[in-house]
Symmetry: C2
Subunit: 414 residues, 2 copies
């Protein structure tokens, strides 16, 4: 059987029957229009898109390859391995094969009729060795940084994207409800986390969460119980957890969970690349009053931020207001982490990656805009004892906000 | 409660009681001695280690930060977030705080008494934007590429490392045996994969597999059934699978598995960062003769390579011998992928990452050495129909090899 024929026929049918949603051309057009406007403003004549989620956003495919977007004319996707599948996945008309990076100038020249005078690259993640290769391949072309241009257009989500995040949120809801059925005393954190992950996968969760960074590793199995909730680690999070070893010192551990201690579950789900992030507290029997009170404070901070969430609200001001609230309620030393190790954000933009714009953080004095999506996560940490918190993913709407994680906001007591 | 005191006391006790193995100083000394010999040869006076697995290998900690190794004198780990935990995890004496990259020159100068004239960076993964920052921070210092130096020393594993890989292999064995109890007709690929992942986590598998690359995403849930085994995707693998969406078009899908079709399970496990990779075939009822015959061919190729595996054997020659064997058995067009999309390796080095040296591949004409570890994975692919194969992780010993994945080599028929 010919492989390419099979992909062009049966693979498309099979994938659609299993719920694959391919990027519509109109949706891509909207994104390209925004990108080109920014390129024009920045004086970038062409962008070579390599980072996986940027490439997915601007082509519809994550197949191994390079995407070239010229300021004028059509983009071209150059597939390094699987041409037929890239053609199926991407609504772009021009999907061509490439064997190695060395062919980039000739393929781009052939496609666009000329090389750009200025070429944008994602310099925040692009490896130096590849940059040197580009310098020698594109002689006479000025290489520029296009990271910010792409990040900026990605921060406003379209209805198409918000819909995919909504599905991720619905998967999350099912996972937490199953979790409440599964949790029992004597389970280890990682056993519970593994079963949540298995449930999520059954509903189509893609398993990997993504962060734009060389070293930052995202994961969904963030189940922390009692003292492990008070541990900080490599991640920029109020609580990192113990993890499984010095090689993965974050998230769920082999610790056995006990009755009455706070069990914090921060589980992100991913659907068609789009993520929803949420946190709920679980307990086996009743939690101590100290934790119940702190949880109420988190809920109060969470609700107060949402009360102010609308286009125009300033992200830094929202963050600062949470600091004041936490202090007023007596949690100055434990809000967002142990004293001295507190994180400097109460919310992070989310979409294809977990560290998108906007940040509800100090130094982020810019307004919320309609279509921005962020995860809001006030948390309180008591070192050696435990952590509590709540988190939801929301989209900023014309009149305020919509919660994309529809799970009930309560403590799941089993 | 004081957080730092708690980390210095109870966190250490808790983590050790849960099986954490911290890097022994003697083990680290051996690695540093090898690194310094290579640095000396290459004229590198200091290395700034950033990539997570390089950092773990050379410091014992994966906490967020920078490791500086001077050619002369002691290394220093500069912790960006969690100083106390980095101190606990690393056997290095010098673990100091750092707030931002800007402090690198002053901290390194203070520690070593001077700046190096040549500074090695991992340019194969180091982001360009950070490189530019280093250029402006380290004026007068020549920046060099230290990737190869570090990759080269990592390719020979110590008994300490091999022991951790052996544990990963033992976890894998338990996972596959549980899998044989779990698998049933009507399950989707991803449901089965999720349950395997949950079992693995319960035994201490760390969830994330790692590849040294900007974009290559490793995952353990590679369960392909019937036609999805014949699909190529973004990964450099004989078969990529359908996956869950265009954003994650690899690995297990929502396809329902049926009786008599080949079910390929390529599940990697990770313990203390060290990975074991293995593949076994499953079937519900008996597979068709075509697949049984192809599986036997894979086993034959696998065994033939192991017969030649010993220090001194040439990696390229081993690979070429598999091509000849496959051709002789009538699988020229289907060995290692669909015709035209065949991968060019039959084995890959493995340890902290899945793309370490050595490669059993064309263009890799160098000898196996004692202590090298690789995953050997002959596979045969029939587009539109299915794929079969076998994979084991082995270490090269003085007299030959030892298999680190002790699971029985057979088809798991349920």
């Amino acid at each position: 059987m010919d492989y390419n024929n099979w992909v062009r026929g049966e693979l498309e049918v099979l994938s659609k029957s299993l719920g694959f949603r391919y990027l519509p051309r109109e949706e891509l057009n909207g994104r390209l229009t925004k990108l080109k406007a920014s390129m024009d403003r920045e004086g970038i004549e062409g962008v070579l898109v390599v980072e996986k989620m940027d490439q997915y956003y601007l082509s519809g495919t994550t197949q191994d390859g390079y995407l070239y977007v010229p300021l004028e004319g059509e983009p071209v996707f150059m597939a390094r391995r699987e041409l037929e599948r890239a053609s199926l996945e991407s609504p772009l008309e021009d999907v061509v094969p490439i064997r190695s990076m060395r062919e980039l100038p000739s393929l781009i020249g052939e496609h666009s009729g000329k090389l750009p005078r200025t070429l944008g690259l994602e310099l925040d993640v692009f490896p130096v060795r590849d940059y040197f290769k580009c310098q020698s391949l594109f002689t006479g072309v000025q290489l520029m940084d296009a990271s910010q241009v792409i990040r900026d257009i990605r921060k406003i989500k379209s209805p198409f994207e918000i819909d995919l995040m909504r599905v991720a949120g619905e998967i999350g809801k099912k996972v937490y409800l199953e979790g409440a059925e599964i949790l029992r005393e004597g389970m280890s954190e990682i056993e519970f986390a593994g079963l949540l992950e298995a449930a999520a996968k059954r509903y189509g969760h893609e398993g990997l969460l993504r962060v734009r960074s060389l070293n930052y590793e995202a994961y969904s199995w963030h189940v922390l119980s009692g003292p492990t909730g008070g541990i900080v680690s490599q991640s920029d999070s109020p609580m990192g957890g113990l993890g499984l070893s010095p090689a993965f010192p974050v998230g769920a551990s082999l610790r056995i969970m006990r009755a009455h201690e706070p069990i914090l579950v921060d589980f992100g789900t991913c659907y068609h690349g789009y993520q929803a992030d949420e946190t709920r507290m679980f307990s086996i029997g009743r939690m101590e009053k100290k934790f119940l009170d702190a949880y109420k404070a988190c809920q109060e901070i969470h609700d107060a931020v949402l009360d102010q969430t609308r286009p125009g609200a300033d992200c830094e001001a929202l963050f600062m207001s949470t600091l004041r609230l936490a202090e007023n309620m007596g949690y100055k030393e434990s809000y967002l982490g142990p004293s001295g190790l507190q994180t400097r954000f109460a919310g992070h933009g989310i979409g294809l990656e977990l560290n998108e714009l906007p940040f509800l953080a100090k130094g982020h004095a810019y307004p919320l805009e309609e279509g921005m999506t962020f995860a809001l996560e006030p948390k309180i940490v008591f070192p050696g004892e435990g952590a509590v918190g709540i988190e939801n993913t929301v989209v900023v709407t014309k009149g305020g906000f919509e919660i994309l994680t529809p799970l009930e906001q309560k403590i799941f007591r089993v």
